[in-house]
């Protein structure tokens, strides 16, 4: 079944002190994942950013699987990041533009991971900037039909975030006759003439940042 899952975390709003406390991060990371941060490749990523990177990956994986199995409950430590690849000499830069969109992640530096949940193995690509972490999860390593976007907005009000992220996605579709609704399980769906299409979409927002992903068949 085709699915997609994404998440965005605004790094300006995280509580750095709290994130570094074991009683906090141990609710998100397993001991094995916590140990991953000691690997030399992650020296350029502060621990609090590492914690929220894994949160973002796990939340995206949950959203991906929720479409397949609506009964799944989000327990971060049950989504295990088994592999994490960071580009050599990765450096966190400022997001000096208003928005970024793409198809696949072939031409952009991302952190890639494999996630295990029960019998599922999922794959992710995460962008990290000084301002946010944005992740997209797919069921295969091939992201060539994965469309995504990240944008800075001017208001952090939930109603504005929600409206803006829908408009951002619709404006990046070739046919803007689409609308976005939610199915009876509260999962976002793409509609045309009020009919649900089989294109999975995922939306996220946090403070002044919004993001989407959608997946077409390969």
């Amino acid at each position: 079944m085709l699915s997609t899952g994404n998440d965005i975390v605004s790094l300006n709003t995280i509580n750095v002190t709290r994130t570094k406390q074991p009683n906090f991060y141990s609710k998100i990371l397993t001991p094995t994942e916590t140990a991953l941060h000691q690997e030399p490749y992650f020296a350029t990523i502060p621990f609090e950013v590492f914690v929220w990177l894994l949160w973002s990956i796990k939340e995206s994986a949950f959203k991906f699987l929720q479409r397949i199995d609506p009964e799944i409950i989000f327990t971060p430590v049950k989504f295990e990041v088994t592999q994490l690849e960071i580009p050599a000499s990765f450096k966190i830069q400022a997001f000096n533009i208003e928005k970024l969109t793409g198809i696949s992640f072939d031409n952009i530096e991302t952190i890639k991971s494999n996630i295990s949940f029960g019998n599922y193995i999922l794959y992710s690509n995460s962008l990290i900037y000084q301002e946010f972490i944005s992740t997209v999860v797919n069921g295969a390593e091939d992201f060539s039909c994965t469309y995504w976007g990240v944008k800075q907005i001017e208001s952090s009000k939930v109603v504005i975030q929600s409206t803006e992220v829908r408009a951002f996605l619709i404006n990046n579709l070739t046919d803007n006759q689409f609308t976005i609704g939610k199915n009876i399980r509260g999962i976002p769906v793409l509609l045309k003439d009020n009919m649900e299409l089989s294109i999975p979409v995922s939306l996220s927002h946090h403070e002044y940042y919004i993001a989407y992903s959608f997946q077409l068949p390969v």
Partner: protein, 86 residues
């Protein structure tokens, strides 16, 4: 503590994480933290940590994943307070 007393305290724990103060004032056991109170999922761990501190309890992973609505939060907190008193 009665369920109503826990609910009243829980309102204070949740308050910093929701901008929907109108809904917060009217919360009941069916209120969903994410859908009704519009709490960002990134704040769920904060709520669990704050509840742990408030009631001097420890909520582990399997219990935390039940805390999606106010009633289930009260179930978990009430059970933990009960265990502490034994």
């Amino acid at each position: 503590m009665t369920r109503q007393e826990i609910l009243n305290e829980l309102k204070k724990v949740i308050s910093p994480y929701t901008t929907n103060k109108e809904m917060l004032a009217q919360i009941n056991e069916d209120t969903d933290l994410l859908k009704d109170l519009k709490i960002n999922s990134a704040n769920l761990v904060d709520i669990i940590i704050d509840a742990e501190a408030k009631y001097d309890i420890e909520i582990d992973y399997d219990e935390a994943d039940k805390m999606m609505n106010v009633g289930s939060c009260i179930d978990v907190i009430s059970e933990k307070i009960g265990q502490k008193q034994q």
